[in-house]
Amino acid sequence: MSWQKARERSRAHRFATLNGRATAARSLRPGRVLAALLLAIAALCPFFLNEFKVGLIALGLTYGLFAVGLDLAWGRAGIISIGHAVFFGLGVYGVAIAMARDVSPLAGAAAGIVLAALLGVAIAAAGLRRSTNPSTMAVLTLAVTLLAEKIARSWWSVTGGSTGIFVQPIASTDAYYWFCLAATTVVVGALWLAVLRRPFGNRLVAIRLNSQRAEHLGIPVYRERVVGFALSAAVSALAGSLAAPLMSSVSPDRVGIVLSTQVLVWVAIGGKGTILGPILGAMAATYGQDALATWMGDSYLLLLGVLFIGSVLLVPAGIAGQFQSGPQLADAAPPAPAPARASLPRGGDGLVCEGVVKRFSGNIVLDGVDLRVPAGEIVCLIGPNGAGKSTLLNILSGAIACDAGSVTLRGMRVESQPPHRRIAAGLARTFQIPSLFPGLSVSEHLVLARQEAGVRVALPEAYARLEREHGERRVEDLSLSDRRSLEIAMALCANPAVLLLDEPAAGLARNEANRLARTLRALRDELGCAIVCVEHDMEIVRDLADRVVCLHRGRIISEGSMDAVSADPEVRRAYLGLR
């Protein structure tokens, strides 16, 4: 327990600087010290190991880079790939085929990497579409690796069939080892600095943790995942091209299912979502497999199996995952301060929808809804359960598409645009059940929101206090009202022109709900944004709404002031369930 607390403290300490100005002295992180130490030891290996061992460690390094490549897709972006050896194999075969034909191996490596990236784009573009689920990628990548192995086995003239291609031993194992070490260090360092610790890396983490929320922060989820997967494929191919000269025989198993599953095991044992974990996992497996094979003959496969099962059961986060306690997000450079609010273009129609129709398997849920919300107006949507309020909100934000009708956001037709485009056009929303990133702290949420907003907006005091007082707390540890506040705070970071709120007062105590209503009105006054709010609590609606719209059976049956709507006999009938 005290260990847990200490971890929490160190986490808090590390993240304390995250939202502040430029940090002073960076604390020495154990991970970095360890990495530097390992690198120093690795650099000296050729001086106390024989040629074979040096070659084996070099091969382990390239497998480590391959594991880092897979981790980019699996550990960071949360994309499952059961066939990553295809990409590795493209690099391996690229170099081997080039060498066998007296073409420069660099050309072979480049061809392999480009092909891998293109194949990665193709697979991800097909497997990560909106209509697919995580198993689509698993099945797709599995199919591709089986196909690739079959091709490598059958295309004798190019791949040498089942025998493969012989690669002449390298002239100096030591020199090549150092080259591999340098290349791996440079590539991993570049990935760390230029990808993982940049907004793009944060986006991948955000998408993995909660793609719905990521999308509604304005992240182009599909595009970023495709790019992430292609990058993962390219790194894997680069690792393969480095490995080829160490392999002596490049055979079809290097693109096949066995290596594909092995690399999954390395990443799982080493620690998903870490840098050192996959590298050490791959190196330990490569080196250990050879040592075990010598030491215990053919029963080493049995021992490997037991080790794997044991580690999955006992250390599910992987070895390196055990020691990871720091923030998951990078402190991306804070965006420039926003221009003064008054200078933002305001006024006119904030949000207009006309003739919106939505059917769910034949049942009509929205039946021609027209709604016009000018800038600066607060509209509350009321109606009995099943009236279509949340569906309308989802159509407005782009979470689902409408079957007919139009949605116009600040003069722009958006009904066929994905959520992130609408966010860019000035929309923001919250969900009935707060949609947040599990495991991230309040500060990390706001880092993401600010990063996507591209501007830095000072939060109203009510929300600034949340950040000040609970910045280091994980969202799981927040009260419901704080979670709702955090979601609104994230929405506000983008300085939205239209704010959609889905039951913001649900589950709040009376005094909290009243405070929320006051805060929202103050926000509207200050920001001039339009607010569309689905709410059941009539007291809040009365406090909040400039105009009340009542939905029933997918149609607007009444609108106007709270008094007028509540006096409407049709509304009363709807609420009482009368026809």
Binding site: N50, V95, T163, I170, Y176, S248
Partner: protein
């Protein structure tokens, strides 16, 4: 990638290994002189072994590589058993030139890439004088290429086919597709009919074997009604068996190997293809008999070994083998592995040195007595393989390969340099 990297891809094989080893040592020495004295004592390198003096210097070191796991494990284990028996006997009788034979062993799972790693380890780390082993042609190809690159002699024990012998450092102690199929195809065609169906595992050797088979079928006036291949590790043979049944060939020439051969034959029996069909080829190996059982009783094949061969050497070998490993059919590859070290011993003693090049040269034309015949057999210097006496055998209940026809010495048929 920089200049360093392109030098890492150096394609030239010009420099012999010994010079590289020297360069490594020199580099290390320079480093030691540069001040890192702590490393000075660690710079010794075991790989310079080939320069050692001949008699009494040290044991002769052999790297033994075999697929002890994976799809062809039955053959790999059979090979290892014979090898260990031969090793014990030879070492008990004084080893090579008064020195024992020291063996390093490793499994390569029948994966060519693993075989490559194992061989590099044998050569670079253990500094072996020679390599013996491997089953599949894929392993053999990798082994022959690596051993050629490092100038290490390598001896293959399984049935082989044409390989670039002239450039490489390998010798072939197994029989060849020519010596197996040359007599087998006409025998089967005459006895059962001329419609052949070919089936094999999908790697290089079965393709080559069945291609050689096709040429002999054509020569015998026969025809091929169908031909198909399944990847190593295939467990379900029902569709292949259905195809065979509908093609109704006179003879099934099979190059399905390893654990696949066992699965194929067992399923052929449960689907009613066996007994009845005339199956032959390298699928019929003594080491598969116990699991295949009576499904193969009465089938014919061509082999160079039978427990019925009446030589003093064979009687002693059978007794020793059964004492060590129990009753049951004796695998052919086990026999080969058993006597392989006799060729090695003769060659090294003839060379008068452990020097790898000299040993390889001495292997050409070397002779040794085997359980197969009373006369010594010779490694043909022109193509580095052996012309064996061959027999048509019929499999008896219990797994005995009963000799039904003595074919005399059959040429290995390999191209000569």
């Amino acid at each position: 990638m920089n200049k360093d990297g392109s030098s890492g891809y150096d394609n030239s094989l010009g420099a012999p290994v010994s010079r590289r080893a020297f360069a490594r040592g020199a580099g290390r020495l320079a480093f030691g002189l540069a001040g890192a004295g702590a490393f000075g004592g660690l710079t010794g390198f075991a790989g310079g072994a080939q320069a050692a003096a001949f008699k009494g210097a040290r044991p002769f070191k052999i790297g033994f590589v075999a697929p002890l796991t994976g799809p062809v494990a039955p053959e790999g284990i059979a090979m290892q058993r014979g090898f260990e028996l031969g090793l014990e006997e030879l070492n008990a009788a004084g080893g090579i030139a008064g020195q024992p034979i020291e063996v390093v062993r490793q499994d390569d799972q029948a994966v060519p890439a693993v075989a490559g790693t194992v061989l590099k380890k044998f050569i670079q780390e253990d500094g072996v004088d020679m390599v013996v082993g491997t089953i599949t042609s894929d392993e053999e190809t990798v082994a022959s290429q690596i051993c050629a690159a490092y100038n290490v002699p390598v001896m293959f024990l399984e049935a082989g086919f044409w390989m670039p012998f002239c450039k490489s450092t390998c010798v072939l102690l197994g029989e060849t597709s020519y010596s197996l199929l040359g007599p087998l195809v006409p025998f089967m065609a005459e006895k059962f009919g001329k419609k052949f169906l070919l089936i094999g595992s999908d790697f290089e050797f079965p393709h080559q074997y069945l291609n050689v088979g096709k040429s002999f079928i054509a020569k015998a006036g026969g025809s091929v009604v169908d031909e198909f291949y399944a990847p190593l590790g295939t467990a379900d043979w029902s569709s292949s068996i259905a195809k065979i049944k509908s093609a109704a060939p006179d003879v099934i020439l099979s190059a399905v190997v390893g654990g696949d051969a066992i699965a194929f034959v067992k399923q052929a029996k449960s689907f009613g293809l066996l007994p009845g069909a005339h199956l032959t080829g390298i699928t019929l190996q003594p080491e598969f008999y116990p699991p295949m059982g009576d499904a193969v009783d009465g089938l014919y094949t061509v082999s160079r070994y039978s427990e019925e061969i009446k030589t003093a050497g064979n009687a002693a070998f059978i007794a020793a083998y059964k004492k060590k490993y129990g009753e049951g059919p004796i695998p052919l590859v086990g026999v080969t592995a058993y006597y392989s070290l006799r060729f090695v011993k003769a060659a090294v003693e003839k060379a008068g040195t452990y020097d790898r090049k000299a040993v390889f040269e001495a292997l050409k034309g070397v002779a040794a007595t085997t359980p197969l015949s009373d006369q010594p057999l010779t490694l043909n210097p022109s193509n580095l393989s052996v012309d064996y006496p061959m027999y048509v055998c019929q499999i008896q209940r219990g797994g005995l390969f009963k000799i039904v026809k003595d074919l005399g010495v059959v040429s290995a048929g390999l191209k000569t340099c």
